[in-house]
C-alpha cells in the first residue's frame, strides 16, 4: 500500500525543548524528521558528537554544501537517536544488520542494543530521518533533470516506464521522483539497497500492486524534492512529520537535560491521509524551544 501525507506545514520541533515525551518508539507509530543544514557551519552546527569517521567523511565532499548537509544530518541523527534511546549522542554506536542476501555485516544500519529501527537519507540540502519500532527505509531526492529522467527510466519496472511515458513533460520529473524515492525507501527497508534491481519491484501509480507486507508513504517536503518512507507491516496508526529546528544542530542543542515549555505558537496541524483499516492520528504538533 502507498499513501500520501497531506501537504501542509510541518511543525517545527526543537527536540531539546518540551518534547521529551515525544521520543517514543511504539508499534503503529512512525516518526519522520526533516532536517536542513544551517546556512553557515560555523554559526550553527556542532560536530563535536560525530565520530572520527563521520568527521572525515563530512570533510571529504567535493562540494562544501554536501559536506555541510552530511554533517548536519549525522548530528541530527545522533541527537535524535540519543533522545529516543537515552544514550548520549556521542555514545550512540552504529552497527550493520546481516545482509538479507548473504548474511554478511552490510545490511541495514542499526543502533547497537536499542529496540528501535531508523533510516537516514539526504540529498541537495534536505535530510530525512525515520524512526519506528519496525524495519523501515526513507529516501529523499532532489527532483532529477529531464535528461536524467530519460536516461534512468529504462532501469525501472516496465509498468513504471509506461506510466512515465504517458505522463506530461511537466509531470514526468515529479513522478519519477515519487517512484524512485518509494523504490529506494522500500529497498532500504528490506535491507538489500540497490543491490536489488530497480526493475524488480513495482512502486508506480497503482498502489494496490505495491509490494505486499510493506506500507509506502509519500512524504511531501518541498517543491524541489521528493521523499518517501517504507515501513514493514500495516499502515502506521500515527505518522509524525516534524521539521527539526536549526538551532538544535548547534552547541548544546542535543543535550538539554531539563526540557522546558517555552511554547511558541503551534503551527496548524496537518493530517496524514493514509487509507487503511485504521485511522491515523493528526500530526503531532510541536513547540519550538
Amino acid at each position: 500500500m502507498t499513501s500520501t501525507i497531506a501537504q501542509g506545514t510541518h511543525p517545527v520541533a526543537d527536540p531539546s525543548g518540551s518534547l521529551a515525551g515525544e521520543y517514543t518508539v511504539a508499534l503503529g507509530r512512525l516518526d519522520l524528521w526533516l532536517v536542513r543544514p544551517p546556512e553557515e557551519r560555523a554559526a550553527g552546527l556542532d560536530c563535536s558528537e560525530l565520530d572520527e569517521g563521520e568527521r572525515r567523511r563530512a570533510a571529504s565532499f567535493i562540494r562544501p554544501a554536501d559536506g555541510l548537509l552530511y554533517a548536519a544530518a549525522h548530528v541530527a541523527l545522533r541527537r535524535l537517536l540519543g533522545r529516543y534511546t537515552g544514550i548520549a549522542p556521542q555514545d550512540v554506536r552504529f552497527v550493520r544488520e546481516p545482509c538479507p542476501g548473504c548474511g554478511g555485516a552490510h545490511g541495514r544500519p542499526a543502533v547497537a542494543a536499542a529496540p528501535l529501527h531508523f533510516s537516514l537519507s539526504h540529498s541537495s540540502g534536505v535530510a530525512l530521518v525515520g524512526v519506528a519500532a519496525v524495519p523501515l527505509g526513507v529516501d529523499v531526492e532532489r527532483l532529477p533533470r529531464p535528461e536524467a529522467v530519460e536516461v534512468c527510466t529504462p532501469a525501472l519496472h516496465p509498468d513504471e516506464q509506461a506510466e512515465l511515458a504517458a505522463a506530461g513533460d511537466a509531470q514526468r520529473g515529479p513522478l519519477f521522483g515519487r517512484i524512485w524515492t518509494r523504490k529506494e525507501a522500500f529497498l532500504k527497508g528490506i535491507g538489500t539497497g540497490l543491490s536489488r534491481s530497480p526493475a524488480e519491484d513495482y512502486l508506480g501509480v497503482d498502489t494496490t500492486r505495491h509490494p505486499s507486507g510493506w506500507t509506502v508513504v509519500d512524504v511531501p517536503c518541498d517543491d524541489t524534492h521528493a521523499a518517501a518512507v517504507a515501513v514493514r507491516g500495516a499502515a502506521p496508526l500515527s505518522v509524525n512529520v516534524r521539521r527539526l529546528a536549526q538551532e538544535w544542530l548547534g552547541a548544546g542543542g542535543g543535550t538539554c537535560a531539563d526540557p522546558t515549555d517555552q511554547g511558541a505558537a503551534d503551527p496548524p496541524p496537518t493530517t496524514p491521509d493514509i487509507p487503511g483499516e485504521r485511522s491515523p492520528e493528526p500530526f503531532t504538533t510541536a513547540l519550538a524551544c
Binding site: R57, S60, F61, I62, R63, D66, C99, G101, C102, S123, D139, E141, P144, E147, A148, V151, C152, P154, A155, W180, E184, T192, G193, L194, S195, R196, S197, P198
Partner: protein, 128 residues
C-alpha cells in the same frame, strides 16, 4: 586508431558541451596504462556532466563516489550512460560504493581490455 565518438551533452556546465567516448577497438588494443588513461578522461567527462562541474575538477583518486556528490539517481544515470556508450555492464551498488572514480576506471579498463583480461575482471550487472 579508430576515431573516438562524441555523445551530445546539452548541459552548459560541461566544458566542451559534449562527452567524447573512446573507441572500443582502440581500448581493446591499447596497453593497460594507455587504456586506463583513455578511460580516466572519459569517466571525468561523464562525472563532470552528471555533477555539473568541469571534467578537470573531478577528483578521481581521493574521494569515494558519494563524496563526489553521486547519489542514487546520479549513479543510475552514470551507470546507464556508460553502459550505453561503452557496451559494458556495471553494477549500480558497486558504482555507488566505489572508494574512488579510479576504481570505476579500473573496472572499465578490465572489461574493455583483451578478452583474457576481461574474463578475469568482469563485474556482474547485479550481485544480489
Amino acid at each position: 586508431m579508430t576515431a573516438n565518438r562524441t555523445v551530445r551533452a546539452a548541459r552548459p556546465c560541461t566544458a566542451a558541451g559534449q562527452v567524447t567516448v573512446p573507441d572500443r577497438a582502440a581500448l581493446a588494443t591499447a596497453g593497460r596504462a594507455e587504456r586506463t588513461r583513455m578511460l580516466d578522461g572519459y569517466v571525468r567527462q561523464e562525472l563532470g556532466w552528471v555533477l555539473g562541474i568541469a571534467p578537470h575538477l573531478v577528483d578521481t583518486t581521493g574521494r569515494p563516489m558519494s563524496s563526489l556528490g553521486i547519489g542514487s539517481i546520479a549513479g543510475l544515470e552514470l551507470q546507464h550512460r556508460m553502459e550505453a556508450a561503452l557496451h559494458v555492464e556495471l553494477n549500480l551498488q558497486m558504482l555507488l560504493l566505489a572508494n574512488s572514480a579510479a576504481e570505476l576506471v579500473d573496472c572499465l579498463a578490465g572489461q574493455l581490455g583483451p578478452r583474457e583480461e576481461a574474463a578475469h575482471r568482469h563485474v556482474p550487472a547485479d550481485s544480489a
